[in-house]
Amino acid sequence: MSHIMDIHDETGADAARDEADLAKFGYKQELRRSLGVFSSFAVAFSYISPSTGIFTLFALGLTTVGGVFIWSWPIVAIGQFVIALGWAELSSHYPVAGSVFQWTKYLSGKTYSWFAGWIYMFAGILTVTSVCVTLPLALIPAFNNMGWNMANNHSNQRIIAIVTLALITILNIFGVRLVALINNTGVLFEILGMVVFAFVLALFHHHQSGAVIFHTGGTSLTTGTFLVAMFMSLYVIYGFDTASTLAEETRNPRTEAPKAVLASVIGAFIIGAVFLFACLLAIPNLHDAIKNGFGPANIIDANFSNAFATVFLLVVSAAIFVCCLSIETSTIRLCFGMSRDDTLPGSGVLRKVHPRLHTPIGSCIAIGILAFIPMLQFAGAGIVAIAATGMIYLSYLIGNLALLKARLNGWPRVKAPFSLGRWGLPLTLLGIAWGGGMLVNFA
């Protein structure tokens, strides 16, 4: 099964080559190197998880500028793809755990990289929390459709979020192979589910014409309102550097990680665009949908039987679960990468890798506990999501500024399998303009 899923330990000459490469960075091969390019793509794709963000924030976009909000999707995808190109090149040069922290460490220096890593780690922790508290928004209605009669209040949402957090932490402790197996399965279901629902909606339940993407539905379309509506797309398309931060567990990472970074953005863009367009086509009445804050669940509910709507909610729930799992996996690797350099409090415990499970158990538990803390003062998914997303964009900007400085100082000085060549500098400048602009938007 795991071979079908592209998960098997690297052996022989390939293993020796990757171990020797890691040794050049002064690190031992302690994590389990068993992910192929699909697994690496899948973990980055599920961090992005188009169905999670679209499910949660479709209504925000729709109620703010009507069907026009769909245009934020390609705009954000292009902006983020520009950043992903830089990350792909960096991951080809630095195939070690810790993405932004490691890149800035080698490119810019100790103080800068420490703050980059510190902010990015807490951004990751808040993102784990924000997605865990999103799961009940899909799962409780699914349970209720099956006759459970569970109140959709903060108390029940918090209980489900805490159980989810505990489960993903345990799965992460038990190793990357198990995480990848669950994650790859979840990603296949997510892609299949979104495509199937999109085609069924578009082919058999299209109440709107294709021109719905130009209709505001009576809302006020200004630059300001469009930027607000853009938050859905901004919340979805990040986390693609996960493929890079799992480099020490990826076979031939200098070649495969860059491919996975870029493929995750492209894949999420295509799947998300198809699904968003289908959802807009299937809105029975645009004005009513805007007035009542319709999300994908309402649109599916309005077109299908209860059973079909329940299946949709379960697919989304599975997607959100693997999204939580991969975000925590990524954040654990950053915590491990920083503690291995003795840069975090309790580094001795955080960097210790279990000899049989090949996972940094201390980092797993620490990230689980830190992600639990915001749940104590739970005020809804939206507030945590805004803080988490803003901090991720800030971390990316910090990374890009270090990359710009390095490029001006002649980086890259050695060849790597993935290179942007002379496009590196303009693309980095473009990435900074994009990331800075979006950060202002968050503020």
Binding site: W118, F122, A387
Partner: protein
Amino acid sequence: MLWTVLVFITIIGAIYFLLVQRRKPSHLQAPEGEALAATNPT
């Protein structure tokens, strides 16, 4: 909310960095030509 959280995390981090991390050496081992910070530290 974003700025409150960010400022809080940064202040905690800054205190820890100044008290503990500032004097520790950085791990900069890398293949030749890859550790730019070793030649241009900030």
